[in-house]
């Protein structure tokens, strides 16, 4: 082990080139600009090619990480992307948004003594290389089975299911409630972290394989699950996401200037409101912005506010830095861009003027007590520590609940007490025959890769059902 440690320290990871923080804090271009071939090969050479690779066990979809990295080292980029595609249909997305530090890279032996191999950066490089230099050759498809499958929702899990089933020969149609496919990848994750052209390309790839995409189709309203069965669909996958914003339930929450992160990011990303008035959807431009919460969505909101010209942007979070749920890279990028972290701080009420507009909020300082049910130390208010923060825009990014639009119209599908769909953990089968579910509408708000893992599992089960039976 001493050997590995020495090697790791002498051989640091190839840094990802990035836009300068001062410049990028005011534009919407992607922050990391990507490895060159030389950088990628140098980074790939740091991989020890472990016999029992920890990284693979840390990956929710079990990508053959040493395998694709070895192919990069050999310069076989076509082989590398094909290796990745075997387990992951959205590598350009995952390379950018996976929390690698707690998954693959968190298990990397090189990382025990130094910095782990930059698996995410390499995955991204493969996908970008294929997009820019690849032949565009489609994977082989099995002969048509004549079985129709409906996929409800075009986020990461729906896209995975569609991609898996189309190559197995099934006739797949995706139903998307918004006017554009991609789900959270287009309405939630900002352009500077995941360019929309990349998502469009991934969807286009599926379309070229034969997947049909019906936008503006609100399943549960425009059409019900039973009507889809009546139209000849034999299996349905429900991957509609969580999609119900949580608020803090504090006095003054309906003042103008308080938005859910869902609304703020949807305006900025899907509706491209940062180009207003060249596009028609407005977005509030805060001078002093507060974001409540400390997950990835909070970081995305804060960094978007900065790019829209805010003078100050504060993250207000009731726990400490250690408990912040965002990816390490997002917190790092946010701080580099000038976003302040107001930790151990909890808002108690919003303050407004006679026009019903937000002018500030009252907060309490907190200290950490004993661990709570989540295993994290419980924040306890410090008596008499109230103070005010001036702000004219507040983005509430404290999580999502289960959106009942589809589930409330499907009485024969069981839900848990929070409204999430109950599924068999091995297969994704719901209690309604012929219906599978996965992603955030089953687990509650989680990550892109976990949703994709659930999609992969369900796709296998749907294929078995269509060929063998329920």
């Amino acid at each position: 082990m001493a050997d590995i440690g020495e090697k790791a320290q002498k051989n640091p990871r190839v840094p990802m080139p990035e836009q300068d923080p001062k410049v990028r804090a005011r534009n919407f271009l992607e922050v990391p600009t990507g490895y060159t071939m030389k950088m990628a090969q140098e980074e790939a050479s740091r991989c020890l090619q472990c016999k029992k690779p920890g990284c693979v066990s840390g990956c929710p979809v079990g990508v053959d990480i040493p395998g694709f990295i070895d192919l990069i080292a050999q310069g076989d980029m076509s082989g590398a992307i094909r290796n990745l595609w075997r387990k992951n249909s959205l590598p350009a997305v995952c390379g950018r948004v996976c929390p690698q530090e707690i998954q693959c890279e968190g298990q990397c032996i090189v990382g025990k003594k130094g910095q782990p191999v930059a698996i995410g950066n390499l995955e991204r490089f493969c996908a970008d290389y294929e997009r820019e230099h690849g032949t565009g050759e489609l994977p082989p498809k099995q002969p048509a089975t004549g079985k129709k499958v409906a996929v409800v929702g075009s986020g990461p899990s729906g896209l995975t299911v569609a991609g898996d089933l189309i190559v197995k020969g099934h006739d797949v149609t995706i139903f998307e409630a918004f006017h554009k496919p991609g789900g959270v990848l287009v309405y939630g994750i900002p352009e500077f972290r995941l360019p929309k052209s990349i998502v469009a390309q991934e969807v286009n790839f599926l379309a070229r394989l034969g997947v049909k995409v019906e936008c503006n189709a609100v399943v549960g309203r425009t059409v019900s699950l039973d009507e889809l069965f009546a139209e000849g669909y034999e299996a349905i996958y429900v991957g509609v996401g969580a999609g119900l914003p949580k608020f803090m339930n504090l006095p003054g929450e309906n003042l103008v200037g308080i938005l859910s992160a869902n609304e703020y990011l949807t305006r900025a990303n899907l509706m491209k409101a940062y180009q207003y008035p060249d596009v028609d959807t407005p977005i509030p431009h805060g001078k002093n912005v507060v974001v409540l919460g400390a997950g990835n969505v909070a970081m995305d909101s804060a960094r978007t506010a900065m790019r829209l010209g805010a003078e100050t942007v504060k993250i207000v979070y009731r726990r400490s830095r250690e408990e912040m749920p965002a990816r390490a890279a997002e917190i790092h990028h946010a701080e580099e861009e000038g976003i302040e972290m107001c930790l151990l701080t909890n808002p108690t009420r919003y303050l407004g003027n006679d026009k019903g507009r937000l002018t500030g909020m009252e907060c309490l300082r907190m200290e950490l007590g004993e661990p709570d049910s989540s295993g994290r130390r419980r924040p306890i208010p410090i008596k008499g520590s109230e103070y005010q923060i001036d702000c004219d825009l507040c983005i509430v990014a404290v999580g999502s609940g289960a959106n009942p639009l589809l589930t409330s119209e499907t009485s024969d599908m069981q839900l848990n007490k929070w409204g999430y769909i109950i599924t068999d953990p091995q297969t994704g089968k719901t209690t309604k025959k012929g219906v599978w579910a996965g992603g955030d509408i089953v687990t509650g708000a989680a990550t892109v890769i976990l949703a994709m893992g659930a999609g992969r599992q369900a796709a296998d089960s749907i294929h078995n059902y269509l060929t063998l039976g329920w």
Binding site: R221, V256, T266, D280
Partner: protein
Amino acid sequence: MFKIVRRQEMSGGTVILNEIEAPLIAKKARPGQFVILKANEDGERIPLTMADTDPAKGTITIIYMVVGKSTALFRDLQVGDSYQDVIGPLGKATHLEKVGKVICVGGGTGVAVLHPITRALKEIGNDVTCIIGARTKDLLILEDEMRRASHDLRVCTDDGSYGHHGFVTQVMQEILDAGGVKLVVAIGPVPMMKAVSNITKNYEVPTMVSLNPIMVDGTGMCGGCRVTIGGETKFACVDGPEFDGHKVDYDELILRLRAYQEEERESHDHYCRIRDAR
């Protein structure tokens, strides 16, 4: 794409009717539900409650007032042109029940929203009196349609140019005084719905209003359309758009509807400059 098959200008061109091909929505829609429309790629998503549907023909009808850039873009669309996106039917349908004597009160383009609800209330056997109003005679819409949809139609104009000289609330109060009214449905500008609700509260007559807050997705995802109903926050897109008129916080709704006033002015001016330059 959703093609416009019929277009009609009303109220001196300030109000437009579009009948749009949307067979899936036409088949499913019930009175009180709304759609979201988007004119083109960079357009804004605009929620509008349907004024009519024709399931056999596969069309829906919307009626809107031209107030800003987005509705100005809608106005430019002619028969044969298409909306890029139409999403629906959204929101809960009107709770329709035979209760007896009903008053339907409509103001401005709210009359359009009121139309299918009035007709449905009549069809299931209610005795429906309808009161519609506008600032002046030329701004009045759907008079003939509302006459057919109800048993008795009263018309009011603020300036006395037609029908009763005064507000819809005055005529409503006279009917309420006569007694026996079991339900009031009021749809129109927020101040009108507020005034109607304040009066009917005194008469203890259940009152239903249809709200039109700012929204983005219309599926409960953004929470932009939050309204306070009896002290509780509700999402108009999924919990509404219809609510108990006696419980709505109208003052908050009025303030929230002004959220983008400055931006809208900027956008409309920007649009007019570009259009005039062409």
